[in-house]
Symmetry: C2
DNA sequence: TAAATCCATATCTGATACATATGGCAGATG
DNA sequence: CATCTGCCATATGTATCAGATATGGATTTA
């Protein structure tokens, strides 16, 4: 049996009249009559009762009619769905981001923009450390990853730089340098005697190394008294008075009791980049559309 | 597109290799390659990415693969389901019976036997008066009807006599003729001075007329002091002492306080038949099977 | 570098779907 | 009651299409 048989059958069932159904289908009455007979032979059941004035469905024919309509409907749906997927308008993509990425207002904004523009594409969101994310990207568990730093190894991946943001000092409330919050930016060198609390290097090597390098360029080695596993625990430790930290400016959206943010005088290397990494080669249409939107939105965001 | 295209596509998708898929399908590799290309043109999307060593699905191809498998599965299901319906092993039939029919042990038994034998056939059961049932049968709201009497007009219907049962006298407890319940059968003439409570003629004309005729043959006109709309209300009125009644023997399964059943000496015309009525012509396979089972079970029941 | 593997293209042929002509049957009509 | 009408079924011919065979092109493998 072929779909042609189902289409012919449904037409005859709806018309109750072979000649009218043939007209509707654009063929002549004898081949339609033959096709119905062939279908009945193949199904192994009589689907119509022949009358002098037209045909009527048997009980088996009524059962088959229901199924046939549904099958034809599903075929049309399959076509439409496949075309949408091919155009990237439908499907599923998995997006990863580092623990600090969501605090950057760009990331939630572009995710919302994508959802609005492509409601039929399902987004899976994953948050993890940079290394885990890159590994998942390579293993095809993730399709695109927002990263905030240079990973040790981006081979096989395409990394699209989106933007960068300044870093700020995070000081315990009551700290001698915390007065006049929002006033004149601090010299990085003013932090030379301070104990440092830094986001663990393994989780965010880009931040860690950038901070170390910037301090050395300012003339001192920072005293790292504690590494924190998460960006939030970094702030918690600062609030507890264990030391100071340097974090991306977007973190100041996270107002936390006991933490005061102070701007720093511009240090060329002390910035936090935001990039999107994907696998090289041919992305799925949905991933392609996502990358396009992210890059376009990043240009408009600056 | 035809089902052939779906079958070819699924085979290639599963094998990832056109030559192997062609072998599996029993055709040569070049026509299969052409059919896949034709399908991609018709869908309007590339379903496979060609590699030097085989083909792999695109995102659109993966979406289509899911749909194609489901469609082919539904086609097989439609065939099987239609065959079952054609064999009367599946479908739905509506059975009607008069208010008194369920008390005959045969009726629930044959219904259970049918359910056991054809679990995929759904039974709708309706209870009503004989006239309503016959009307519903003619209007195709019911497919088969158990009746207990001769309806005024069975034209256009086929009535299969199943069996008959004796009638019994239903007396108020304490009645002078109620003593020695189960003893020697009563003469019908012994009831000549009694007030009669009868099941309404409109609801069960066969019973009514048979009782009137039998009494006249026994030499008296029964004094009908009350007609009851339902067989149960007939018994209720007897229990209340309004009079006596004559009911099918199967009613004695309905033990009711205040009612005593007494057998009657055999009166040729005073029996309650049980018949199955269906429309003339070609019943659906499920109805045909039901009629067959009912008739066969009735023979074994006697 | 030659051979192997795999899909794509070209050409031919048999099978099949459809057109046309006509027949048969049951119901409608005069 | 005879004739006509409406509708599906059968017979025959033909154009189209699916599949076979032969061969080519590109990439990988030995």
């Amino acid at each position: 049996m072929e779909l042609r048989h189902l289409r012919y059958f449904v037409a005859v069932a709806e018309e109750g009249h072979v000649t009218r159904a043939a007209e509707r289908l654009g063929i002549q009455q004898p081949p339609l009559s033959l096709q119905i007979r062939a279908l009945e032979r193949e199904v192994g059941a009589q689907l119509f009762r022949r009358r002098p004035r037209g045909m009527e469905l048997t009980a088996a024919g009524r059962a088959f009619f229901t199924d046939a309509q549904e099958i034809l409907q599903r075929v049309d749906h399959a076509f439409a769905s496949t075309r949408r997927t091919a155009r990237g308008e439908q499907g599923r993509i998995a997006i990863g981001f580092t623990n600090s990425a969501p605090f950057h207002p760009f990331v939630p904004r572009v995710i919302r923009a994508f959802r609005d523009g492509f409601p039929l594409v399902a987004l899976n969101l994953e948050e993890s450390g940079t290394s885990e994310l890159v590994e998942a990207l390579r293993a095809e568990r993730l399709d695109a990853v927002f990263v905030r730093s240079s990973a040790p190894d981006y081979s096989g991946l395409a990394v699209h730089f989106l933007m960068e943001e300044k870093m700020m000092a995070a000081l315990p409330a009551g700290h001698r340098l915390a007065a006049n919050s929002g006033a004149k930016p601090l010299d990085l060198a003013a932090l030379n005697a301070e104990p440092f609390v830094l986001y663990r290097r393994l989780a965010g090597p880009g931040f860690y190394d950038a901070i170390i390098t910037a301090c050395r360029d300012a003339g001192f080695n920072p005293t790292v008294v504690q590494e924190a596993p998460r960006i939030l625990s970094t702030l918690n430790l600062v609030a507890a008075g264990l030391g100071i930290s340097i974090v991306p400016a977007s973190l100041q959206r996270m107002q936390m009791d006991g933490v005061v943010y102070r701007r720093l005088k511009t240090v060329r290397k002390l910035v936090a980049p935001l990039s999107l990494a994907v696998r090289r080669g041919e992305p799925s249409p949905a991933v392609g559309r996502f990358v396009d939107l992210v890059r376009k939105t990043a240009k408009a965001f600056r």
